[in-house]
């Protein structure tokens, strides 16, 4: 079992808009500016559509983005 944190949705049960399948916590590769980050995110097991929780997008992910862009 992974000890890495799951970045779960900030609230609610989410389903894929395209497939209707409930999202599952799956390890995904986030790629940006030649860097890859393996993180566990809510993802559609069928089509791969991934939800980035708002708190993550506005928090650590924004911080990483700024560092990569050197802003």
């Amino acid at each position: 079992m992974s000890l890495e944190p799951n970045f779960t949705p900030d609230s609610g049960d989410w389903a894929c808009a395209r497939c209707g399948a409930p999202l599952e916590q799956i390890k995904v590769q986030a790629l940006y500016m030649h860097s890859a980050f393996a993180v566990i995110l809510p993802r559609c097991p069928s089509c791969g559509l991934t939800l980035i929780p708002q708190s993550l997008a506005e928090g650590k992910m924004a911080e990483v983005e700024a560092l990569l862009e050197d802003k």
């Binding site: 000890l3 890495e4 944190p5 970045f7 986030a30 860097s35 980050f37 393996a38 993180v39 993550l56 650590k60 992910m61 911080e63 990483v64 560092l67 990569l68 862009e69 050197d70 802003k71």
Partner: protein, 460 residues
């Protein structure tokens, strides 16, 4: 060979004259002729082996960022209408407020000609200056300067006032003597909200300080750096660089800076300019151009830093500065440069294809960069068990070191195109904002273009 044309001032009468950069041998000279006082020239850019060429470094198109609230009208043309006028093409990255003209040193070299006995501005005066800066430039970085700001016992209150007004980074420009001497003073400033200390630090032995500052200073400066570390204050070491005095110490300064702890966030060089007080004739100044400093850094650091690492800025004019930001390694050396650096705003490396720079974006990024990289390190206590957190811990601003230099312009080297794009603005006592070099610029007979004339018998 003619490289570029611009305008400048006659260093004698300060009238506007046409000027041009000419390449002679491996050096670009700025040359100009005053119909009354003759021809003057000054080395502006040396492009020897391994150094970036004048043309490659200067290239690129800028999208102007005019002042949202110009304070003056265009009456006589640049550079005589500063305030800022509607034709200034860059926003403020850092605004300087001179809180006193008194100084504990009275150095032989001083752009501000400090030590005169003019009365300090009152807290209300300073509040008005801060309001003028905030109105014109919003939440920029502010540097409390002078004179020696720590001569004022109410400096902590002034720091707190700047912080309360919402400036992004509050920095004090200091010789460090009081910080080194007075137990608890660094903590008092930190508690008041100070983010960063811009510390005069010219060399690694006292012979340099005796020449440039008139006395031994090193022990007190070391004590100041230690005190800042304990108080959680970020420190940028600032070296006034003079050919023949300390240009052989740039590598030693870098290794010394890296040993002083993570709170020393960077080393910044200011090749000496001839304004205010200086002990030579202006046309015989021991000038050193930016590419020569880059080459010296590469040689004296044994290749740890390299000329190719340095970026041109995209905030101020390219000829005004260079910088690089490095990852600090655990063994106390520098790793590879990481992305762009102070005031470079993510620019491409010199020598790559011409670029278009949006001055407004360059200014915004530079302002944020300075605030993040010159402030106190935050210290890491975040959980490091996911990939994003590990990356942040490994490459965050707290683990970086900036190496930079800025070439100021005096009456000989002034280039009107450069000052029009200046992003370091002094807030004059009347609230006008004047590009740093123009505020400090003095003619051959020491007549200032903007700075109020000293009220005492002060001479250089």
């Amino acid at each position: 060979m003619l490289l570029a044309q611009t305008q400048s001032l006659c260093p004698v009468c300060l009238r506007l004259v046409d000027a041009a950069y000419h390449l002679e041998g491996d050096t670009a000279f700025l040359r100009k002729t005053c119909p009354e006082h003759g021809t003057f020239q000054v080395p502006a850019w040396k492009q020897g082996e391994g150094m970036p060429s004048f043309t490659a470094w200067r290239q690129g198109t800028r999208i102007p960022a005019y002042p949202a609230h110009p304070a003056t009208d265009i009456r006589h043309g640049c550079p005589f209408d500063c305030g800022l006028c509607p034709e200034h093409v860059q926003h403020t990255c850092t605004g300087l407020i001179e809180v006193t003209m008194r100084c504990s040193l009275g150095c032989p070299i001083c752009y501000a000609r400090s030590s005169c006995s003019a009365a300090d501005p009152s807290p209300d005066d300073i509040a008005r200056q801060m309001d003028a800066l905030f109105h014109a430039s919003g939440s920029c970085n502010v540097q409390l300067s002078g004179g020696e700001p720590t001569e004022r016992d109410d400096l902590p209150a002034i720091v707190a006032m700047a912080k309360k007004k919402g400036f992004a980074l509050v920095q004090v420009n200091t010789n460090g003597l009081r910080l080194g001497r007075e137990e608890g003073y660094a903590q008092t400033l930190r508690d008041a909200g100070l983010d960063s200390v811009y510390l005069q630090f010219d060399g690694v032995d006292d012979s340099v300080y005796r020449t440039l500052r008139g006395r031994d200073c090193l022990a007190l400066k070391q004590a100041a750096i230690e005190a800042c570390g304990k108080a959680g204050l970020g420190v940028v070491l600032v070296c006034t660089l003079v050919r023949g005095v300390n240009d052989a110490q740039v590598g030693a300064l870098l290794s010394h800076a890296l040993k002083l702890g993570g709170h020393v966030r960077g080393l910044h060089f200011q090749p000496v300019s001839s304004f205010g007080r200086f002990p030579w004739d202006m046309d015989e100044a021991p000038r050193i151009t930016l590419p020569e400093l880059m080459a010296n850094l590469e040689i004296q650091s044994g290749g740890m830093v390299r000329t190719a690492h340095f970026h041109a800025p995209s905030c101020e004019h390219p000829l005004c500065s260079f910088s690089a930001v490095y990852a600090r390694l655990d063994d106390g050396t520098l790793g590879e440069p990481v992305g762009a650096a102070c005031c470079s705003g993510g620019t491409s490396l010199a020598g790559e294809s011409p670029r278009v720079v949006d001055n407004a974006e360059g200014s915004r990024v530079s302002r944020a960069f300075t605030a993040a990289h010159w402030a106190s390190p935050k210290g890491g206590n975040a959980a490091l068990n996911d990939a994003f957190s590990r990356f942040i811990a490994r490459s965050g601003a707290d683990r970086r070191f900036t190496l930079s230099a800025m070439a100021f312009q005096d009456a000989l080297s002034l280039d009107v195109e450069r000052v029009r794009g200046c992003c370091i603005h002094v807030v004059a006592p009347d609230g006008r904002m004047i590009p740093f070099c123009l505020y400090n610029l003095t003619s051959f007979d020491n007549h200032p273009l903007y700075r109020p004339v000293p009220t005492t018998g002060e001479t250089r």
